[in-house]
């Protein structure tokens, strides 16, 4: 039985989208193999960006955007698989245990502090900031609610990455405190004020 979701797809646009996306990715692959100049590289990326339009014609605006990267990923994996030396893959690899090195060990206290910052503290700070925005935003309830959810699940990971990368822990810590104060003030002005 054919799918109801496929029935509305335009086959001509689908073919064009598939061909354009594949051509863009193949061009990118050739640039990578032959170390071609930046013009070809930009052309490859350009074709892939342009191919989003026929994807949208085939599937519809939002479904098209969702399908395009899936197809590109599939073509990229096929090209990678096609270029790999599979004969070598059949050979076993023995992992040698190296000599013990007295490497630089991060103290447990500092490591725990970093995770405390990246986890609960960043969650608190980003939630505070997002709730502050929610309180002050003039958007409708639905837009604020969904906007707040999206901000939270994007801001918190960014804060996690910053906290886990920055060698000076005080910087993300300070940013978290500032975000919390800002969010708290915005919230207080709306709810408490």
């Amino acid at each position: 039985m054919s799918s109801w979701f496929v029935a509305s797809i335009s086959p001509v646009a689908l073919l064009l989208a598939g061909l354009l996306s594949t051509a863009g990715m193949v061009l990118l692959y050739r640039c990578w193999r032959r170390k071609n100049g930046p013009v070809w590289l930009w052309l490859a990326w350009g074709i892939m960006v342009v191919s989003i339009w026929p994807w949208q014609q085939a599937f519809g605006f939002d479904r098209g955007i969702a399908v395009a990267p899936l197809w590109l990923a599939l073509v990229a994996f096929l090209l990678i698989a096609g270029g790999a030396n599979w004969r070598a893959a059949l050979r076993p690899v023995v992992i040698h245990t190296g000599r013990a090195r007295t490497g630089e060990q991060i103290p447990w206290g500092r490591r725990s502090l970093r995770w405390l910052l990246a986890g609960p503290l960043c969650l608190l700070a980003t939630t505070g900031l997002v709730m502050g925005w929610f309180a002050q935003s003039q958007w409708s309830d639905a837009n604020r609610l969904v906007g707040a959810a999206l901000f939270l699940v994007i801001l918190w990971p960014l804060a996690i990455v910053w906290s886990s990368v920055d060698p000076r822990l005080w910087r993300p810590l300070l940013a978290s405190v500032v975000a919390l104060i800002l969010g708290g003030c915005a919230l207080f002005l709306r709810v408490g004020g």
Partner: protein
């Protein structure tokens, strides 16, 4: 210039450390969520596979819906005096050609005339979706934990890209001839980079779905005097207040006709009657929207089938439409079988990426002279144990009605314990794959034995076909590893006994 390069490499090192630390913290649970999610893409097909003998059709006779609704309400009334909160009717269409009715605890399939048939029994599929959505934990706790894992996956994708200085230079490299760490790193990086838009889309939508209850609670507490329903009423149609006064059941057929005449291009596929058989009852009709990602459009109608309002999921405010689009984007249910297969492939790639990520860290520890042999084996116990115990949970359910929840979690625990106490990592890896191949074979035979020709009928052939494909793929991998063992037995074993391990 040199200083700039030094600063850059220091940043990359820090980014890599952060990425490794976060990945290691989340790896086991993230792997289970990603793996179960990749399988759960086919949950409607698994439901059909669990009961392949149920009649399938897409057209039904006039009056069948009302007859089925009356029949299931009568059946529920024989079970309890309490009126059900909801009456749910799933209408058959090409992607799910089964007519189902539910009222309270009673659920049954319906024939094209409207007569009740076999009871609905999708215990294993429910376990699978619960495993992915909540890691089998109680609702809010599990959803929140999985939501946090989604946030972690977003951070891992961003951190991984930051930690990858040669993103374009290595865009298509897969160096099988290199060292074990290089092999694993290439697999991890290529899969990670090219599937990053897919991973981000899944992680963000998963995090929003998972954290929505907690976020709704926070918003309700701060802005709506603790009333969660008021906080979220802009996204959903509200439920009527129960009156408890009996009334004839709402005219669901009339409600369906109203929606059909309002939006002929849409495909109504579900009817929900809130507070059925009471004066408070209200009908909700869900209709698929062609060419859109939104889950459905929902219409609220009164008991006589007159339109009251629509939820605006397809044409309402941007926030409502974005929210309504998250589910199909997350589940991969917006382009039929081709998109589901792409989700399965990329999901398997994401599983491999997580598995390889953990292995890279373990190999690096070993090469630095600080191996964790027990952890190496435990990781194998999770990576290959999870698919094994998932198949065993299906065998246990079909064969002896064992609760899949217990089979899976007890099985996974045992898999890790056995892995930790086992002596040889290479034999462990091969042993787990042999068991997986055997388990898939047993499941296939069991399905055929139980359902006969229905096991290769339209309701079950996709899942059984995918089982055969996975059987072939695992067998291929097993054959490669057995070849290593047989050809290089002496080398591998002697190296293994000296504290070295073959990469498997």
């Amino acid at each position: 210039m040199a200083k700039g390069n030094g600063a850059r490499s220091a940043f990359v090192r820090l980014a890599l450390n952060g990425h490794s630390g976060l990945g290691l913290t989340l790896s086991a649970l993230l792997y289970i969520v990603v793996f179960s999610g990749s399988v759960a893409v086919f949950y409607p097909e698994f439901e059909r596979w669990e009961q392949p003998a149920v009649p399938e059709f897409t057209e039904w006779q006039p009056g069948a819906i009302s007859r089925a609704a009356d029949a299931i309400m009568a059946l529920e009334a024989t079970r309890t005096d309490e009126p059900p909160d909801h009456l749910f009717i799933a209408l058959p269409y090409t992607d799910m050609p089964r007519f189902v009715v539910h009222a309270g605890e009673s659920g049954a399939f319906v024939d094209p005339v409207g007569r009740l048939g076999a009871p609905v029994n999708h215990e294993w599929t429910h376990f699978l979706t619960d495993l992915h959505l909540r890691l089998s934990l109680p609702s809010v706790w599990g959803l929140t934990l999985v939501g946090i894992l989604g946030v972690g996956l977003v951070a891992l994708v961003i951190g991984g890209i930051l930690a990858h200085p040669n993103l374009l230079k290595d865009a298509f490299s897969l160096r099988w001839s290199g060292s074990a760490r290089l092999r694993l790193a290439d697999v991890h990086n290529r899969l990670g980079v090219w599937s990053s838009p897919f991973a981000l889309a899944l992680a963000i939508t998963g995090a929003v779905i998972g954290l929505s209850q907690v976020l709704g609670f926070v918003v309700a507490t701060l802005f709506f005097e603790g009333n969660t329903e008021a906080a979220t009423e802009s996204l959903f149609l509200s439920d009527p207040k129960p009156t408890g006064e009996a009334a004839p059941l709402a005219n669901v057929s009339a409600a369906l006709e109203t929606v059909r005449s309002l939006s002929p291009e849409m495909k109504p596929n579900m009817i929900i009657v809130h507070e059925p058989g009471t004066t408070a009852q209200r009908v909700e009709v869900g209709a698929l929207v062609p060419g859109r990602l939104v889950w459905s459009e929902f219409y609220a109608l009164d008991a006589s089938g007159e339109l009251l309002e629509s939820a605006g999921w397809s044409d309402g405010e941007p926030g409502v439409q974005v929210y309504a689009s998250m589910f199909r984007l997350h589940f991969g249910h917006f382009g039929g079988l081709p998109v589901q297969l792409l989700y399965l492939l990329l999901g398997a790639g994401l599983c491999t990426c997580v598995a390889a990520g953990g292995s890279i860290w373990l190999v690096r520890r070993r090469q630095r002279g600080m191996p964790y042999p027990r952890l190496e084996r435990a990781w194998l116990g999770i990576v290959w144990g999870a698919p094994l115990v998932l198949v065993l949970s299906a065998i246990g359910w079909f064969g002896w009605a064992w609760q899949p929840l217990y089979t899976f979690w007890i099985g996974l625990f045992l898999s890790v314990v056995i892995a930790v106490v086992s002596r040889d990592r290479v034999y462990l890896a091969v042993g787990l794959k042999v068991l997986l191949v055997m388990a898939i074979l047993v499941l296939l035979f069991l399905h055929v034995a139980l359902f006969g020709l229905d096991a290769i009928g339209p309701a079950a052939r996709l899942i059984n076909g995918l089982l055969v494909v996975s059987l072939l793929l695992v067998s291929l991998r097993l054959w490669v590893e057995l070849r290593w063992l047989i050809r290089d037995a002496s080398t591998t074993l002697s190296l293994g006994s000296r504290g070295q391990a073959a990469d498997s």
